[in-house]
Amino acid sequence: MKNTPVLTIRDLHQYFEQGTINETHALQGINLTITEGEFVTIIGGNGAGKSTLLNSIAGTLPIDTGQIVLDGKDITYDSVTKRARWIARVFQDPKMGTAQRLSVAENMALAAKRGEHHSLFRFGTPRSARPRFQAALKRLNLGLEDRLDTEIGLLSGGQRQAITLLMATLQKPEMLLLDEHTAALDPKTSATVLHLTEQLVNEEDLTALMITHNMQDAIKYGNRLLMLDHGKIVVDIAGEEKKHLTVPQLLDLFNKASQEELTDDELLLSADK
């Protein structure tokens, strides 16, 4: 089971506005293998290419060069819709992950069928599914178990983000992608959602990629850490070494690995925390 590669990325390049004066070489030859059960945190300065990497895996960005293999299947040219069978995703903006005007139960029902055929001959939100949704909501401890029929757009960002996270795991994904999914939340809610993330990943034995701009969180959570800089993976630490990592060490690693001194204010700021 362990050490089976789930995701293999080979020589992935992404360009924006190629051939123009504004050309950005956002990913510059990413090679990465992620094995089953790995919970990978990804850090890097603004514009390092973190989101571009996740978007490439999820399929929202067409691949310029390179190959992406998931569970032995070449998904390089598969659509977002097709990849949804194997990949679940939580966006940074809480509004992005749910359908505002649908109820909590309807959103969950949709996610519970992620990647499956949407039949014309079955009810979308069957009564029989409600106990399961209720039980799932109950563990959030946000009092949401009684609000199955509430329009989800009426809930707070934190509540919605917690539900989106639950939704991503109602149907176990081969790969869970989290792109700064707590960045839009206040510190307390952010901590709650991060804690829930860890719980779900552990309980469901998920393989996950989590982008964060907080070095502390990157060290605290997960069992492997990647640092991206200018479209390249410059740090890749796992196991015991990752467990005992400190923020100063991480900064040091970054400075050694990248051509230039760390000047990114955001990265320094979040290291202070």
Binding site: R85, A99, Q100, H118, R122, G124
Partner: protein, 310 residues
């Protein structure tokens, strides 16, 4: 009483169109101009078939299927060729003009003394016939739509309307769902056209002009009456909206407005209706500010009193 009954009969037929327009307008957030071509398309199919003594129900069904085909075309242009929604509608609408002429063979087909879907209730007055058939059809449509939007596919379609990115990330075939909505919408619109031709006793090549404005007005009257409803109840308010709209038109005509000026009136009325939410907001703001002015005045008076006391 006559005006009321005839408004109800016309309103029922218009409500079928309005329900169709509602699906693209509120679920996909598109004002789909295909409607103005699908409406006469349904009428053209139904009238030319009925004029050739076809079964009127079959003729009506063919009209509806024609509308679904028109919706398919617009849906494909919009999703596969990524043509902006407004242009998509105009393209299909323009093409349909020629197609409708081809189907009818001339600009106008009269249906005097032909057997129509309303003939089944020949024992009633012509107005009552339309009310009976219209009410039955509207009821069936409402039940079917509510059922559809509660299936897995219908849920996926609603999600696409709300958040296409999230839907795709959950494995929904976004383009397919949009096409499905386009097809149901224009099928209903063409059905309304087919019924209108039979109720009026003729199909005319230009009968679609301005119809989307009528349909939108019916929808908005319904929404102004009651806000935020589930689909089933929303359909009910659209039906009521369509009937109210016909009543207003009947009263306007009764008051002596030249029928040639009607379309100007349609446009003006819809403009007013579309401005209602803003009016409500402004009224609220006005009232709040007035209350606040009084509040501030009393604060000033209080402060003045304290000054004197010192």
């Amino acid at each position: 009483m006559d005006i009321l009954l005839s408004s109800i009969s016309q309103g029922l037929i218009w409500s079928i169109m309005a329900i169709g327009v509602y699906l693209t307008f509120r679920i996909l957030d598109i004002a789909d101009m295909t409607a103005e071509g699908a409406f006469p398309l349904g009428a053209a199919f139904a009238a030319s078939l009925i004029a050739n003594h076809a079964n009127p129900w079959l003729a009506t069904l063919v009209g509806m299927l024609g509308g679904m085909a028109a919706g398919l075309v617009s849906g494909l242009l919009y999703t596969r060729l990524r043509i902006p929604a407004l242009l998509t509608g105009i393209l299909t609408l323009t093409g349909l003009y020629s197609i409708n002429l081809r189907i009818m063979g001339k600009a106008n087909i009269a249906l005097l003394n032909q057997t129509t879907v309303f003939s089944a209730f020949a024992q009633f007055s012509s107005t009552m016939q339309v009310i009976i058939v219209g009410a039955l059809l509207v009821a069936v449509i409402m039940v079917l739509l509510v059922l559809f939007f509660n299936t897995e596919m219908g849920l996926a379609a609603r999600a696409v309307g709300d958040n296409p990115d999230m839907s795709a990330a959950n494995g929904v075939h976004v383009a397919n769902m949009q096409i499905v909505i386009y097809m149901i919408s224009n099928g209903l619109i063409a059905l309304a056209g087919a019924l209108m031709a039979q109720s009026n006793g003729y199909a005319d090549i230009s009968m679609g002009v301005g119809t989307i404005v009528i349909a939108l007005a019916a929808i908005i009257i319904g929404e102004v009456l009651v806000r935020n409803l589930t689909l089933g109840k929303r359909i009910l308010t659209i039906i009521i909206g369509a009937i109210i709209y016909r009543l207003i038109i009947a009263l306007v005509l009764w008051a002596g407005v030249d029928p040639n000026d009607l379309r100007l009136f349609y446009a003006a009325l819809l403009t007013v209706l579309l401005a209602v939410p803003l009016m409500r907001q402004l009224t609220k703001q006005y009232n709040r500010r007035r209350a606040n002015r009084i509040h501030i005045k009393s604060l000033n008076a209080q402060a003045a009193k304290e000054d004197k006391a010192k």
